[in-house]
């Protein structure tokens, strides 16, 4: 094991290979508060990549309902349970990562998986935490909660799948940090299927190999965001590039949200993989739950998000989510507009930070009808 630095847990940790960051790293921000679980992302991915024989229950992208939903079954409960106490000392993780609690004979603390684990992709869908008491549904804030968690491969800086493969069939592309599984080299040992604590590598019985999300790299190479991003109805996703904190740039949208404003947080940073999909945590969910899921940065992120509407840069940046098919490496705020810029800082797209609000009288005098606000 080598020693590597993981900024998400604020310390060095053990990893199978030495630290070797790519030239640039695929990064993404998902705003959980906007997701309506329409599964358009799931379908966009499925029809593009996994419609074949043996891929029936393979969902590189899935959206599950928290707290009860999970796909594969109980992926989070299983690894949280195995990992043991996960305490934070401020921004420094004091527990053990999956690379630091490895049983003898393995490379990574893993989770055994069975085919039945993939048979219920919609388990717990739309279920709230508990029963709403009489009249409780009418009171604010809502007593009960749930939220939707959209998940793809995190294209981790320290992938557990990559560390676990005894054949080195999984590699991280140096040009963009996308983690890919070599389909010509894999021999179907399923080490990676068990090793990914997020359950994001799948076994294909028809071919006998394992498969995973490729971040639509043929699109990324052309400067276009992946299928699950551009097809998102709720415009909850933004794809770009993430730098380590010491190299963070204010004009890089992902850096700005993750490092500068610290409003987007990694999923289960305590696993130790340095995942590169960042989530704006749900603001209505008790902190005890979101703290376990997104780490100690939750209260500050929620406060910043609640105030985002009064913050021109943040509001503008969120307005750029889903505004263009193109990857947005840079952005700027010009007057009342947020502007997406390409690699050469040329303008790609311009959106108003605040949509104009029109108030119309209830009675339409021209047509002599009453208006309703049904959309």
């Amino acid at each position: 094991m080598a020693r590597v630095y993981n900024w998400q847990i604020g310390r060095s940790m053990d990893y199978w290979y030495s630290e070797n960051r790519p030239k640039r790293q695929f990064g993404a921000v998902f705003d959980i508060n906007k997701c309506i679980e329409c599964q358009t992302c799931t379908l966009a991915c499925k029809t593009t990549w996994t419609s074949g024989r043996g891929q029936e229950y393979m969902l590189w992208n899935n959206v599950e309902t928290k707290p009860y939903g999970s796909y594969p079954l109980a992926w989070d409960m299983q690894i949280l349970n195995r990992l043991g106490p996960q305490t934070w000392d401020g921004a420094r993780y004091a527990g053990r990562t999956v690379f630091e609690s490895v049983p003898k004979g393995l490379r990574v603390l893993n989770t055994p998986r069975q085919d039945i684990d993939y048979a219920y992709p919609n388990v717990g869908e739309d279920e709230i935490l508990g029963e709403v008491e009489r009249g409780g549904a009418l009171s604010l804030p809502q007593q009960m909660w749930m939220f939707y968690l959209a998940r793809i491969c995190n294209h981790c800086t320290y992938p557990a799948c990559l560390a676990s493969c005894p054949r080195s069939s999984i590699y991280k592309r140096p040009e963009d940090g996308i983690v890919v599984l070599d389909q010509s080299r894999c021999r179907g040992y399923q080490e990676c299927v068990k090793a990914c604590p997020y359950g994001k590598v799948y076994f294909n019985p028809a071919t006998g190999t394992s498969e995973k999300c490729i971040a639509c790299y043929p699109k990324i190479e052309q400067g276009i965001q992946p299928q699950c991003f551009v097809n998102c109805i709720g415009k909850i996703r933004l794809q770009g590039w993430i730098n380590p904190p010491e190299k963070a740039r204010e004009d890089n949208p992902v850096d700005y949200l993750v490092h500068v404003r610290k409003i987007a947080l990694p999923l289960y940073p305590q696993f130790g993989l340095e995942p590169n999909v960042y989530y704006v945590p749900p603001i209505h969910v008790p902190e005890s739950f979101t703290h376990q899921m997104f780490g100690p940065g939750v209260p500050a992120a929620v406060a910043a998000y609640r105030n985002a509407k009064n913050d021109k840069t943040l509001a503008g940046l969120f307005a750029l989510f889903g505004s263009t098919e193109r990857t947005i490496p840079y952005f700027k705020i010009v007057g009342d507009y947020a502007v997406a810029l390409d690699e050469t800082k040329k303008e790609i797209m311009r959106v108003p930070i605040y949509e104009p609000v029109f108030v119309r009288p209830e009675h339409d005098r021209l047509y002599q009808v009453m208006r309703s606000n049904t959309t």
């Binding site: 029936e56 085919d115 993939y118 010509s184 399923q190 006998g208 190999t209």
Partner: protein
Amino acid sequence: MDIVKAEDWMRSSQVKTRFLCTAIALVWIASCSRQPAHDAEQIVAPRMAGSLPTEDPTSGLWKQAPEYSATLLKQDVTEPMLTEAGVDRVKVRALHNGEWVVFRLEWNDPTQDLIPRPGHSSDAAAIQFPFQPGDQLPDHAMGEKGKGVRIWYWKAVWQDDTARAQAKGGDRIASLYPNAAIDHYPFQANESARAEMEKRYAPARAAENPITVVPGSGPVQVLVAEGFGNTRVAPAQTGRGKGQWENGKWMTTIARPLAGGAELGDLVAGKRSYLALAIWDGAKSDAGSRKMRSTWVPLVLRTQ
């Protein structure tokens, strides 16, 4: 101890020794007269004329070959290791005809595991030979850099693929999940482009991964390795064999030509060579380095 008792003891001891010698002699004579003999030291392959039971693990010809019982150990040299012991013994018999040698491996396995799926792998067995002849053996664990090994690897799912194709029994998914109802696959939409589309949605097949064996090409693949993690398919594929599972037991034949040439190395009758064995239990999701394996076992191909 007094003198009388000592004499008694000596007398009884002499009787015991005489009895033991007679017993050993009788066993030896019995072993000479009965075929096959059990050989605890090495695998001995008698030479026979004509065709070998290459794909017949239950052939009567196997009675001509002495049985060797190999001890298997957990692979605990490199991660990922096998943490719980599995099949700890495999019985081996071998026959050759001057051109090919065929081995029959016999081991206990309460379940027949054919098609791999999450949490399960395919039952499998392998015989490994050092590439270079002589007694300077490479590491028995997959060889080592510059001192490679050649492996004849039998996998139950490959055999099952062929059997299903011949019986028109559907593909792996239909066999694993007979009640699964599928609405539609995109590759079914356009009949003229179907084969191409189907391949495109099977990435490992499209990438020509050698483990996606075409049904009919046989269940034994020849592999090359120089240590862990670099196994690749040998350029020359000369493996044959067949497994048969019945009553909690696999009997599997694996055959190779004696002359493997520059790529696979040769076996020479009359000269001592070596092999090592490995067994994977699919029910325990054994795969890759998670296996039961032996150390080097001497092999002698009789000249007659």
